[in-house]
């Protein structure tokens, strides 16, 4: 056989060549070992990071927002569980296909999804919230397509819910996803795309307290981005609870009183500034606004002519009309322009230069003193004293009562109105002040504008004998974890420089307004009420009876009131847009609010005789 017929030297030669294989092998294996040492030892930590990134996704655990209660512990805002859909781009293999799929499964516009995916901080590993408030059907649909949707995650989150629906909507506000612009700001630095923040009302003002702190979950995922197990949990911290000063029932009453009309009602406790109710109509349902709205839905709300998002109580600026006479009276008496007994003759008009300023009452009120002027709201009396005082004195007192400046209520975008003066006109209009303009200002027309909240504060200050307390909406903030309740004490804004006698005179006159003056329709059998009517003109030229004028040109009806007269515990400002005379349109609403309040809190009548009755507090059940 050939196998043994070989040449020995050939075999030896062949076997010597094996050395080449040995050396080659050792060299190559050394190279391999070197490469592996490089990978595992030198670059090991780098690759470990890469593998950690590969497998872990950090998922933000949204905190539950703090609850919001009224002064009696009635729940105004809470949270309900809902499904949110997140996408982690790192795990998405085919982004356009995913967008198309999600668009059809969730019935969303593809552009919207695309936008959600391309905004936000963090890299491709940061999950982006594409939609929240998924219906159960949508959530199950997504879950059943899970395998075809790598990178898609359904999270259960808590969603803001307002059990009362539209009640107190302007106060509470609503929440929404933090916007790209907001994310740039320092206040929102610890937030991320998809975070929910307050966008209006106390939700916005107290967002830092209510927001809570987000937690984090490290989720181990497989190559398709599907959750395998949660690795670490940094628990989210719920936001603080807010205790508002409002009484939800009174709030509802006030809103229902306005009904379908536009207007505002503000009720506050003059002794501590607590806002008991702040109604603004038309309103909205914050539950709807807290959802993701389409551009069209949003446009419908914003472009609504009646401006339902506008909080008329703090943002509506109206001429105060005759309610301004309260301020005028204090200014006239304190500046010694008149004494309480100074008489002014009213013939139904006031001639200034070649212009005749009418009194609201044809034929006039005859000869009136301060008390009479207030009771019957005599315009000529105040034209006269206004003219004597001059605009700057009027402005000085108006400012003392808090007009022309923020009340400081805890609501965003409060408007301040206008307290005109010579300096103001020079600055704002670059024109000198014309004396004739003082006459309009004297009865709260012309340049003077106020918000209903400011007027409530003015009448509250009068009721509180000149001590002005900052209106407030929030009594206390409670830390959910510790149970610690931080009370906000009332803040005194200052004491107006008005003598007690002056205040007493004004209060007595205002009580008479209700018993025998322009606001007899506010007279209550339950409680003594003092108040002042106002009718704010919206158009300069008006002729003919009220009912012939188109509604949008009709006057605004004002009424400011306080009760009980003897020891006031509630101050109310009512503004009913285009409802005509304050005495007929606004005064009854104020009466209803006050009556609802004293029924709910009978202790405010304690030691007070009401409506001509004898002291009845002892007969009432104590609370």
């Amino acid at each position: 056989m050939a196998s043994i017929g070989f040449n020995d030297s050939d075999l030896l030669d062949l076997q010597r060549r094996l050395v080449i294989l040995r050396v080659g092998l050792l060299l190559v294996v050394a190279l391999l070992a070197l490469r592996l040492w490089h990978l595992q030892i030198r670059e090991g930590p780098y690759y470990r990071d890469l593998s950690e990134n590969n497998r872990t996704r950090s998922v933000v655990l949204e905190p539950a927002r703090g609850l919001i209660f009224d002064r009696n512990g009635i729940l105004l805002a809470n949270n309900v569980p809902s499904f949110a859909l997140y996408v982690t781009l790192e795990d998405v293999k085919d982004r356009p296909a995913l967008v198309t799929q999600l668009a059809s499964l969730l019935n969303l516009e593809p552009e919207l999804i695309q936008k959600k995916l391309s905004t936000g901080k963090g890299g491709k590993l940061q999950p982006r919230k594409v939609k929240d408030r998924l219906t159960l059907r949508e959530a199950t649909l997504i879950e059943s397509h899970r395998l075809d949707l790598p990178g898609v995650m359904i999270q259960v989150e808590s969603q803001r819910n307002y059990p009362g629906g539209p009640v107190a909507a302007h106060l509470l506000g609503y929440v929404g996803e933090v916007s790209a612009d907001q994310l740039e700001k320092a206040d929102f630095a610890d937030l991320h795309q998809g975070s929910v923040v307050g966008q209006y009302g106390v939700e916005k003002w107290f967002d830092r307290q209510v927001r809570g702190r987000a937690g984090q979950k490290s989720v181990e995922v497989d190559a398709l981005g599907h959750e395998k197990r949660a690795v670490v949990s940094d628990k989210p911290v719920a936001g603080d609870d807010l205790y508002l000063t409002i009484d939800a029932r009174l709030q509802k009453t006030a809103e229902d009183l306005l009904g379908e009309e536009s207007g505002a009602i503000v009720a506050l406790d003059p002794t501590n500034g607590d806002i008991l109710a702040m109604a603004s109509r038309p309103g909205f349902d914050p539950n709807l606004l807290s959802k993701e709205l389409t551009n069209k839905q949003w446009a419908e709300i914003v472009q609504n002519e009646r401006r339902p998002l506008n909080n008329r109580a703090t943002q509506g600026q109206y001429p105060p009309g005759s309610t301004f006479k309260v301020v005028m009276a204090a200014a006239a008496l304190e500046s010694n322009t008149v004494t309480p007994s100074t008489m002014v003759r009213c013939n139904g008009g006031y001639q200034f230069g070649n212009r005749l300023f009418h009194d609201w009452k044809q034929g006039g009120h005859g000869s009136v003193d301060m008390n009479q002027a207030l009771i019957h709201s005599c315009d000529v009396y105040f034209y006269t004293v206004g003219q004597r005082m001059g605009i700057d004195t009027i402005a000085e007192y108006a400012k003392q009562f808090g007009l022309g400046q923020e009340t400081g209520v805890e609501l965003p975008s409060e408007r301040v109105g206008i307290v005109p003066s010579t300096a103001w006109k020079q600055k704002a209009r670059n024109q000198p002040w014309y004396p004739g303009e003082t006459i309009s200002a004297a009865i709260g027309q012309g340049y003077v504008t106020v918000t209903p909240l400011q007027m409530a504060s003015v009448i509250g200050t009068v009721a509180n004998d000149g001590l002005s307390i900052k209106p407030r909406l929030v009594q206390a903030v409670m830390n959910r974890a510790t149970g610690e309740r931080a009370e906000f004490p009332p803040t005194v804004r200052g004491k107006v420089a008005v003598k007690p006698a002056t205040i007493a005179l004004i209060k007595a006159a205002l009580a008479d307004v209700v018993t025998k003056g322009t606001a007899t329709r506010a007279k209550s059998s339950l409680v003594t009420i003092g108040g002042k009517t106002g009718t704010a003109q919206t158009a300069a030229l008006r002729t003919g009876p009220e009912k012939d004028i188109p509604k949008k040109l009709r006057d605004h009806a004002w009424f400011v009131a306080f009760a009980p007269v003897e020891a006031p515990r509630i101050a109310v400002a009512v503004l009913a847009e285009h409802m005509g005379h304050g005495g007929s349109a606004a005064a009854p609403l104020a009466k209803d609010v006050i009556e609802a309040y004293v029924k709910a809190y009978p202790e405010v009548l304690k030691g007070v005789s009401a409506g001509g009755r004898t002291k009845s507090a002892d007969a009432r059940p104590k609370t």
Binding site: M1, A2, S3, I4, F6, D10, L11, D13, L14, Q15, R17, L18, I20, L21, R22, L25, L26, V28, V29, L31, L32, A33, R35, L36, W37, L39, Q40, I41, E43, G44, P45, Y46, Y47, R48, L50, S51, E52, N54, R55, K93, E220, V221, D222, A223, L224, K228
Partner: protein
């Protein structure tokens, strides 16, 4: 005949060492396969299947060990013919996977002729060179080259770049062993350099898209982690993140969470490296070096040319597969689809490797018997 003389001394310590090394490396493989696939729900899990292949491989080992290798070598040409037919059959009716047709389905399993073709080529070339006069480059280079060519072309046509390269490696190793003179070597090198661009054009044109992408990805695996360089990058992450001591058994997140594809087959080394770290890698490399060293010992002590050539060819094949597999998982070479011998899951590969090792030990046994 002397061939008939049986080694009366039975298994000696050398054999035990040789088989012990094989057993340990096989165990590493089964363990790694179990680690990657244990979470899969299967009636017949991969590690059990692999154990079955090892059992069949042991039978193949014993058959190759106990038969006379001269007789086996005599069957080389007919067997090569059969393999060529099978390779042709694969092209016509083979089962395809990821763009390549490599398997012939047999019941629930798939048979991969290209794996066996490697061993058959070793037999054919060893047989050829042991008989044919070693004078003249025509007989040394061209004729055996013509023998290699049909098999090589059929394998590349599948396409199976890995097996094709193994084929060339066996041929090159054999040429080296039979002693190509420096002049011939120079001519071959010169021709290679001159022809390279043309051959590269041909090869590149014949490559499938996924192969081109792999080659491109090799150049820069980081440029598209989700796409072309995915395998290479995930494999490197797996190995690198193992660091010094590894993440522990079942702790390899890359493989457990399926970031690393083919964890039980071509990329089993990455799984092992992730779980056992650099320490484990050195141990495995040492095991392979020991096995190859022992095998080279057998080649060096073979008492005839056929035995020496067989042993050398098998060792060369083994070396090539180990080096290229580890090199490709570690990102040194493009991914060509060569399994890690004795470790990667696979029926054809495991049986072929064990048969080769049986034949190797057979050469050693014959060496001993020749003394009698």
């Amino acid at each position: 005949m002397i061939d008939r003389v049986i080694d009366s001394r039975g298994l000696d310590s050398f054999d035990l060492r040789f088989m012990g090394l094989i057993a340990v490396i096989l165990s590493v493989g089964v363990l790694s396969i179990y680690s990657v696939t244990h979470s899969q729900d299967a009636a017949f899990p991969f590690y059990l299947k692999q154990l079955m292949w090892i059992l069949l491989g042991t039978v193949a080992f014993l058959v190759m060990y106990l038969s006379d290798y001269h007789k086996i070598a005599r069957l080389a040409y007919p067997t090569y013919a059969v393999i060529l037919i099978m390779l042709a059959v694969v092209l016509v009716m083979g089962k395809s996977s990821r763009g390549a047709q490599r398997w012939i389905p047999i019941g629930p399993f798939a048979f991969q002729p290209s794996e066996f073709a490697k061993l058959v080529l070793v037999l054919v070339l060893a047989n050829y060179y042991s008989r044919v006069s070693r004078a003249g480059w025509l007989h040394r280079v061209v004729l055996p080259g013509l023998i290699v060519l049909p098999g090589l072309l059929l394998i590349l046509k599948q396409p199976d770049l890995g097996s094709g390269l193994s084929f060339l490696a066996v041929y090159a190793a054999m040429l080296l062993m039979v002693g190509v003179r420096s002049k011939t070597l120079g001519v071959i090198l010169l021709l290679s350099v001159m022809l390279f661009p043309f051959v590269w054009e041909m090869v590149w044109a014949s490559l499938h898209d996924y192969q081109r992408e792999r080659v491109m990805a090799f150049v820069d695996p980081d440029y598209d982690p989700g796409g072309k360089g995915y395998h290479a990058l995930q494999s490197r992450i797996a190995i690198g993140s193992g660091e010094l001591s590894g993440k522990g058994l079942y702790g390899g997140t890359q493989s457990q969470l399926k970031f690393l594809p083919e964890g039980h087959t071509d990329f089993v080394f990455a799984v092992y490296a992730e779980e056992w770290g650099f320490v484990g890698v050195l141990v495995l490399l040492a095991l392979f070096i020991a096995l190859i060293w022992v095998s080279l010992e057998i080649a060096a002590r073979a008492k005839d040319t056929l035995g020496a050539l067989l042993a050398a060819g098998i060792v060369a094949m083994l070396c090539f597969c180990v080096v290229v597999n580890i090199g490709m998982t570690a990102g040194m070479f493009p991914i060509v689809g060569i399994p890690l011998p004795l470790v990667s899951y696979g029926g054809s590969g495991t049986i072929m490797t064990m048969a080769s090792l049986g034949l190797l030990l057979n050469v050693k046994r014959r060496r001993l018997t020749l003394f009698y």
